[in-house]
């Protein structure tokens, strides 16, 4: 009875762990995609020569710990890109504007810089601000802050829940083992008195704990495997508007490549810890 309760709690714990793990993995993946599209634009002082602009570019690229991409966009390219965007589908009007040799964006040469982690964007902005010849920096601060906050929130909530459930699982396994020990107290006493080693007495209880952990992990992981596929299918069918966004979701095999070993090891680990320390406490014959 207690074993069933332990398996059920362990199952709930590993199920939630798997759920949050999958959520986190997907969210991190989506974040990475978004991060690669949220960049910083670095403008230079008017009249800065090309050599100094190149030096700024090199100094930005040197920050390989944060910078993933740094593209130079000249004033002409900026003007062409603006025309292409503004007169999309109206080539005649666009050509007319191009004919005007006077580039109104002649001071708009810039670097487009992309970071590997959105949390480090501010650090990079401060670094670039310190470089000589930099006039202005545009950054999508709000987007980066919002994404960082959501990411932190999901991580914190999931970690908290997992820690609570882990504690409950260990407590229940410990209870199961305690009941087992008290039922077999006389047998354990006799065993110790006729020369059984501690390991010999502990081993069945530790194996029982590990088995509870293993079964408690295997059941929810199997359920999650099937549910995950169905959930993706359901989301993509019912919320077609999200389809473009949801393309960023990880396939089940990729999620389980990590989740399966981590879940099973976690289950067995909880079983081991719960049973090992409980039997240790009870074995002082």
């Amino acid at each position: 009875m207690f074993s069933l309760a332990s398996i059920a709690t362990m199952g709930a714990c590993i199920f939630l762990f798997g759920l949050f793990f999958a959520l986190n993995l997907n969210f991190t993946y989506i974040m990475k995609n978004v991060e690669s599209n949220v960049g910083i634009t670095v403008f230079f002082n008017e009249g800065l020569d090309q050599a100094s602009i190149d030096t700024i570019g090199q100094e930005i690229r040197n920050r390989t710990d944060i910078v993933t991409k740094c593209n130079y966009v000249s004033a002409d390219e900026a003007w062409e890109s603006y025309i292409a965007e503004y007169f999309e589908g109206n080539t005649q009007a666009a050509e007319g504007f191009k004919a005007n040799k006077d580039n109104p964006l002649k001071h708009s040469a810039h670097y487009e810089v992309y970071v590997n982690e959105i949390e480090k964007q501010n650090e990079l902005v401060n670094y670039i601000k310190g470089l000589e010849g930099v006039r202005n920096i545009n950054q999508s601060q709000q987007a980066s802050e919002t994404l960082s906050t959501i990411n932190r929130l999901i991580t914190t909530v999931s970690m908290l829940l997992i820690i609570i459930l882990l504690a409950v699982s260990i407590f229940l396994i410990s209870n199961t083992i305690s009941v087992g020990v008290s039922v077999r107290k006389e047998e354990i006493g006799i065993m110790k008195l006729i020369g059984a080693t501690d390991t010999f007495v502990r081993l069945p209880f530790i194996l029982e704990g590990i088995l509870i952990g293993l079964v408690g992990a295997a059941i929810p992981l199997t359920a999650l495997y099937f549910l995950y596929n169905q959930a993706i299918e359901y989301i993509l069918t019912k919320f077609s508007v999200l389809q473009n966004f949801m393309n960023g979701l990880q396939p089940v095999n990729h999620v389980f490549q990590f989740l399966l070993p981590v879940g099973l090891i976690l289950g067995m680990g909880i079983g081991f810890v719960g049973s090992f320390f409980t039997i240790r406490k009870h074995l002082k014959v």
Partner: protein
């Protein structure tokens, strides 16, 4: 074989259960330890089993100082002992054979040895035909014989018996004591804690009399006289 040198044992907030006891028991000797309730008999057995540690003094058994044994060494030490209790302490969910085999399984003896040794020892205690019985189906005397078989199956150098006849009628008591005597004659040191005057006085063995934790007499062919 067994030497106690100025051994005392005090429990928390109480008078010493055993006070400054010194004694020596030779290999193959048969010794009765007698005394009233609270005289320290059970404490003595527990000290020899290394269930308790002395508060002071030293206990030597088979050349080992019990006070210095590590947990692992305690297991090994206990394998050289056989123990019989008043309440038999048999496993009620296992039959006679399994109860005796349990003693060998616990110390990880191979199966072939268990299959050879268990029937031998069951024959020795006269229970060969009852190996399939459950302890609950046996009389008190038979249950104590199973306990004796379990204690003997590992060929112990020392047999400790704590009130082995306490729950038995005189006939069964005599039979158990006869078996213990035979075991002693085969070279095993037997230490019997009892307050069964009749048996002690008939057997004419060494008698150590305890009172309030102190040895008041230790006689070669002694008798148990209550004061």
């Amino acid at each position: 074989m067994i030497t106690l040198d100025s051994v005392s044992k005090s429990y928390e907030k109480g008078k010493p259960a055993i006070h400054n006891i010194s004694l020596h028991i030779d290999k193959g000797e048969f010794v009765f330890v007698v005394g009233d309730s609270g005289s320290g008999k059970s404490t003595l057995i527990k000290l020899l089993l290394k269930e308790l540690n002395p508060s002071s003094g030293t206990i030597f058994v088979n050349g080992k100082i019990l006070n210095k044994l590590t947990r692992r060494q305690i297991s090994k030490y206990r394998r050289s002992l056989g123990v019989v209790f008043q309440d038999f302490r048999l496993l009620k969910d296992r039959n006679v054979y399994e109860n005796v085999a349990f003693s060998q399984r616990v110390i990880e003896k191979p199966n072939w040895m268990i299959k050879k040794r268990v029937p031998e020892v069951l024959t020795l205690v006269g229970l060969a035909d009852k190996y399939r019985s459950n302890p609950k189906e046996l009389s008190g005397g038979e249950q104590q014989r199973v306990a004796l078989a379990r204690a003997l199956v590992n060929r112990p150098k020392i047999l400790l018996a704590d009130e082995p006849t306490g729950n038995l009628d005189p006939k069964n008591s005599n039979e158990i004591m006869k078996m213990l005597e035979e075991i002693s004659e085969c070279g095993t040191t037997v230490l019997v804690v009892t307050h069964n005057k009749g048996i002690v006085n008939v057997m004419k063995k060494r008698v150590i009399h305890l009172r309030k934790g102190v040895i008041i007499s230790d006689e070669k062919e002694g008798i148990y006289v209550e004061n």
